[in-house]
Amino acid sequence: MLKCNLSQLDNLFAAVAEAMPLYLPTQGKNGANYTKWQSGAVWSNTCNTQKGPKDLFFPQSEDLMAFKTQGKSIEIIDTRNEAEDFAVFGVRACDVKSLEILDRVFLSEPKDSYYASRREHGIIISLACNRPTENCFCGSFGIDASSPNGDVTCWLTEDALYLRANTEKGEKFMALAAPFVTECDDTAAEAQKEKIGKIMARLPLADLKTDAFGGGKTEEFFNSPQWEKLSESCLGCGTCTFVCPTCQCYDIRDYKTNDGVVRYRCWDSCMYSEFTRMAHGNNRNSQKERFRQRFMHKLVYFPENNDGVFSCVGCGRCLAKCPISMNIVKVMKALEGEQNG
């Protein structure tokens, strides 16, 4: 375990940023978000950023390739840049886990080379949550907010940051941090873990259970009469999907330029009426069906295809952001209540 006094933290950031782009949460007008560190940037220790680190690996829109036309010839241009190493600091346990979930989608064959390249080069420096909020329910998905995964795990106390490298990539970061850290034992980090554990136990959503859900439950829940009520005031906006760190659906479009075409992809939302249009049109014509799809995907279909892993990490962003305050917690409780009742 290494220790960095907080007075040295900005120097540590500067040294890392000298070697590679460093992203970390900073406070903006609407809360904290990941931004690229620049001299004078102030790191925000807010529990959760408005949007997760997903954008750094799977941006909202990105060019996939371009086609240049001249007469009858078409040239295909690879628009990819070889990604360089970068570091992301302050990633919470839920968001670290969300990347592992995205990996299951993008790194299974055929691999998504755009995502894979960023994952390969991104160093995740995670941070235990000293103050989880009322919206947090990562524990329900087996995530320990006091001990996140990542290439490096950090704990913050009042006067110091404690760091532990978990991977080879993490060691790379530690080498850059070396001038600003000293060796220490894990007493302080363990004490911090215990403090966090006590808060986790009294979170209002601490007792949310996932036992009722998982693979093989399609029949059980698909035709539930609850969907009607749960979805009745859904606006059909894309807020929940766009702030979700595990939502991974996208659309691919061509954009015509003067002398060719740019093929890009952008996030899509199962809440949208134009999502997954097929030759015969859209297969989900009502908001109830679209709403059901989102939650069935997270709670039933995804675990069915991914060894029981749910595609929700309990980060609580949809709870904080939904314009009508409908969310996965309310859905789980209603469906579970039905099963028990």
């Binding site: 829109s61 606006l235 009508i324 305050s325």
Partner: protein, 332 residues
């Protein structure tokens, strides 16, 4: 704190369900916490008792839900509308978007609604409980901190701080005291924008709109946005897009939307309330309202249900376009 409480509303709604005046009730449903109410339909007294709530966190404007509900319901649906919501209701009636005969409107007074984001700015994160007391809100956090007292004024949503009216402009019956149209100073915010240089104003909007994630929540909640198929969702329109493709497209979406609702926007402020990126979208619309007032005379959309919006109403006194479009920027 609201002057009419949950119990009064439940009793009235239950009575109207019981005597058959209405077959359903549109209101706000209690959530997981003290502040996360969801618009919901209630059909029995039991459902009302179990979940219906009316307090300082019932900011959602229910009028747009009538679009669908008054078309599909057998009988009438009771809806509770706050004063500003009744302007949206009237505007929807003006545009023949809801079936008036299938709605039973109860006007409920509103002292301004609290906004959890405003509260978090004062108390910080981790809100365990919010007590609504006579003197203000008492906010308990999850940590070992002492509870924080927040005044109703400080907790209030920005849009409520410049409330334009405590008067209900449409209702079948009214609960509590009727209020007045207020001198809101809501155009002071527009004046601030107008006082900027064109470059400053451009930078201001660029800063705000560049945060847009195109979730469309502003459009989807807007009572003036009632197209069956929005041009931005229509693959055949040529302008459909699902993500901000660059700075320009974000501006396109919001500015086109503002033009489309100009003269029809009642300034209910739902667009800014729901924006997950905290963009003050209502200012775009409010600028249009201010311009319309100056150009065509004072006009409040939704004030009555039979007005002709100034932009679709030709009169011989209308100014010539050249008088109106002077432009704000020397492009030379």
């Amino acid at each position: 704190m609201q002057t009419v409480n949950t119990q009064t509303l439940i009793e009235r709604a239950s009575a109207l369900l019981k005597d058959g005046t209405v077959s359903a009730v549109l209101g706000w449903k209690r959530g997981e916490f003290d502040y996360d109410m969801t618009p919901a339909v209630f059909t029995t007294e039991e459902e009302l008792s179990a979940g219906f709530v009316y307090n300082d966190f019932c900011g959602a404007n229910l009028s747009k839900y009538l679009l669908k509900k008054t078309r599909e319901i057998q009988g009438k649906i009771l809806v509770f509308l706050k004063p500003c919501d009744t302007y949206s209701f009237n505007q929807l009636l003006t545009e023949h978007r809801i079936h008036r005969e299938n709605a039973y409107v109860i006007g409920v007074p509103c002292n301004g609604m609290a906004d959890i984001h405003s509260i978090r700015k004062i108390t910080g994160e981790g809100i365990a409980r919010v007590e609504l007391t006579d003197s203000g809100l008492l906010v308990h956090t999850l940590y070992d901190d002492a509870p924080v007292a927040v005044s109703y004024e400080d907790a209030m949503a920005d849009r409520c701080k410049t409330c334009k009216s405590k008067k209900h402009v449409a209702y079948d019956e009214l609960l509590g005291e009727e209020g007045d149209v207020l001198d809101s100073h809501r155009f002071d915010e527009v004046a601030k924008l107008e006082a900027m240089t064109p470059d400053e104003r451009f930078a201001f909007w660029q800063g705000e709109l560049s945060r847009c994630i195109r979730c469309n929540a502003c459009r989807d909640v807007c009572p003036a946005c009632t197209c069956e198929k929005c041009v931005f969702d229509n693959p055949d329109s040529g302008v459909e897009n699902k993500a901000p493709g660059g700075d320009f497209e974000e501006k396109m979406f919001h500015i086109i939307r503002a033009f489309h609702v100009a003269g029809r926007c009642t300034d209910c402020g739902e667009c800014s309330r729901v924006c997950p990126q905290d963009i003050p979208l209502h200012l775009l619309n409010r600028k249009f309202i201010s311009d319309i007032n100056k150009t065509y005379g004072e006009y409040q959309a939704g004030e009555t249900a039979d007005q002709r919006p100034p932009l679709v109403n030709f009169t011989q006194n209308d100014p010539e376009p050249s008088d109106v479009v002077k432009g704000g920027h020397d492009h030379a």
